[in-house]
């Protein structure tokens, strides 16, 4: 992930273009180019709730952690949750990269392909194009090249990664709903999201950052710098059903 274009004040970057790269040992036959540009945004206005809900279902992620409460995400609650989260990080990628992923992964014929929305405000598109030619070694068709050269805009990108956190603006914060589209995993997107969240929180002097994770997610969080509570506390969740 060498190249990054930042927009905004140096102190607060809200939208950023990054490159994510698959490691060489991963499936070389994948139609995805080895590295693809993704766009990270920390602005709430960049979130399309419908897309977000689709991402939730594609990632098989429920807002209710305990399985008994699973189901389709409630849009009204989702809107509230987003508006009340202090930090939201969205990652977008180019549509044609998403389409490649779609073609290679969908066998059971999902309905309407997942729309990936991207956002990017590059200072100059020519800069972008030249870097693309440098990085993207697998482009084969002219059509693809044209797609690559087109600057990413809010309307032609697709949401592939998301993460949010809420805090008390003083002492503590909790990270929730971290997800990356399954086929684009293992490219560093998740880590990008987590690092962005922690960076935003620590810039506001909040260092007590917690994340609830399932057993299989623990190695990921460990790689991001998370660990079991050094004070030895036990995580507990309310599981009793409300009696009438």
């Amino acid at each position: 992930m060498g190249f990054a274009v930042c927009v905004g004040n140096a102190s607060l970057v809200s939208m950023e273009l990054r490159w994510v790269r698959r490691s060489t040992c991963d499936d070389a036959a994948s139609p995805l180019p080895r590295s693809i540009p993704v766009f990270i945004s920390t602005l709430k206005k960049d979130i399309n709730l419908e897309e977000l809900r689709r991402l939730y279902s594609r990632c098989d992620h429920s807002c209710n952690r305990l399985s008994k409460n699973g189901g389709i995400v409630d849009m009204k609650k989702l809107r509230t949750a987003i508006s009340r989260s202090d930090v939201v990080v969205s990652v977008f990628c180019k549509s044609h990269h998403a389409v490649l992923v779609e073609e290679s992964t969908s066998e059971n014929g999902d309905d309407a392909p997942v729309l990936y929305s991207e956002e990017e405000t590059l200072s100059s598109s020519s800069l972008y194009a030249s870097d693309l030619r440098k990085q993207n070694k697998d482009e084969s068709s002219l059509g693809d090249m044209f797609q690559d050269v087109l600057p990413l805009t809010p309307s032609n990108g697709q949401l592939v990664g998301f993460g949010r956190a809420y805090s008390d603006y003083g002492l503590t914060a909790s990270i929730h709903d971290l997800m990356v589209f399954p086929s684009l995993q293992r490219m560093g997107i998740g880590k990008l999201i987590v690092n962005r969240i922690t960076r935003l929180l620590t810039s506001r002097d909040i260092y007590d950052i917690a994340a609830l994770c399932l057993e299989h997610e623990r190695p990921f969080f460990k790689a991001c710098g998370f660990a079991d509570d050094r004070m030895g506390s036990t995580t507990m969740m309310f599981t009793k059903s409300l009696e009438a």
């Binding site: 206005k45 009340r84 809420y166 008390d168 002492l171 399932l214 623990r218 036990t234 995580t235 507990m236």
Partner: protein
């Protein structure tokens, strides 16, 4: 000390069963028609903002969408909670709640009232004194104040000492007297995204008042209020000695393998 496990059907007679070694419990003075757990009506409890003599910043989330990307206001958008107009759309506003939990007569004739309050003012200095009492490490006051102000719910317990005879020192006014004798003895707070998740932090009760079911009352109320607002994922991180305490309240340790991890910068 008898600790009676709570249940939603418990009535006000719950506290009359507690045995207190130092004080004789006067159950007659306890308001019998008042439901201890306001489960029937919509539980009003105050939202994150407190009257802590600081202005609450407001930013209109939807306005920011309409106006498009504005570079300078990025911090505003991220830091400030949305305005009240949006709150009314999303959730019912949380109203302050205050009522007497326990009233008893002490040996020297004074009447002690334990008052549960949610959404009221909290003196940060009082809170720090309380944290010192339970042996917690000190935290910066400004951060503490900010955390209280922006927590979704903060519930407190105060102890008020009243003279048994109402005629004494009435020249000063009873309210002032009560202010001086009002002592913070317990607190619990929860942060939330107002929709799905909530985390309970900082549950503490003055050691002198522990073992009387006050901590249970605090947490129970908090949980009840959260559930009533349809917030399903309520989590907390319990020290080893209080795991049983929370288990009795309906919490489960590591449910479905969910564990909490914390960020430790290298």
């Amino acid at each position: 000390m008898i600790l009676i496990p709570t249940s939603s059907s418990s009535s006000c007679s719950y506290y009359s069963c507690c045995c207190l070694p130092q004080a004789s419990f006067n159950s007659n003075s306890y308001p019998s028609n008042q439901s201890l757990f306001l489960s029937k009506s919509a539980y009003p409890s105050h939202q994150g903002s407190r009257k802590l003599k600081t202005l609450r910043l407001r930013a209109n989330f939807w306005e920011s969408i309409r106006s498009g990307f504005v570079k300078n206001n990025n911090t505003t958008q991220l830091v400030e909670p949305p305005s009240t107009t949006e709150e009314d759309e999303d959730t019912e506003p949380l109203l302050p709640v205050e009522f007497t939990l326990v009233e008893r007569t002490l040996q020297d004739g004074l009447i002690e009232e334990i008052i549960f309050s949610s959404g009221g003012e909290i003196d940060v200095y009082d809170l720090q004194t309380l944290c010192d009492k339970v042996g917690w490490p000190r935290r910066p006051l400004t951060k503490l104040a900010a955390a209280l102000k922006n927590s979704y719910m903060v519930a407190t317990l105060h102890s008020v000492l009243k003279p048994s005879s109402s005629s004494s020192s009435s020249s000063e006014g009873d309210n002032e007297q009560q202010q001086k004798n009002k002592k913070l003895i317990g607190m619990a707070r929860a942060t939330s995204d107002h929709a799905f998740n909530a985390t309970i932090w900082d549950v503490l009760v003055d050691p002198e008042y522990q073992g009387q079911g006050l901590g249970k009352a605090l947490v129970e109320k908090l949980v009840r209020a959260l559930l009533q607002r349809d917030i399903g994922n309520i989590s907390l991180f319990a020290d080893s000695q209080v795991v049983d305490f929370y288990q009795n309240l309906g919490f489960e340790a590591d449910p479905e393998g969910i564990k909490g991890m914390f960020w430790y910068p290298k």
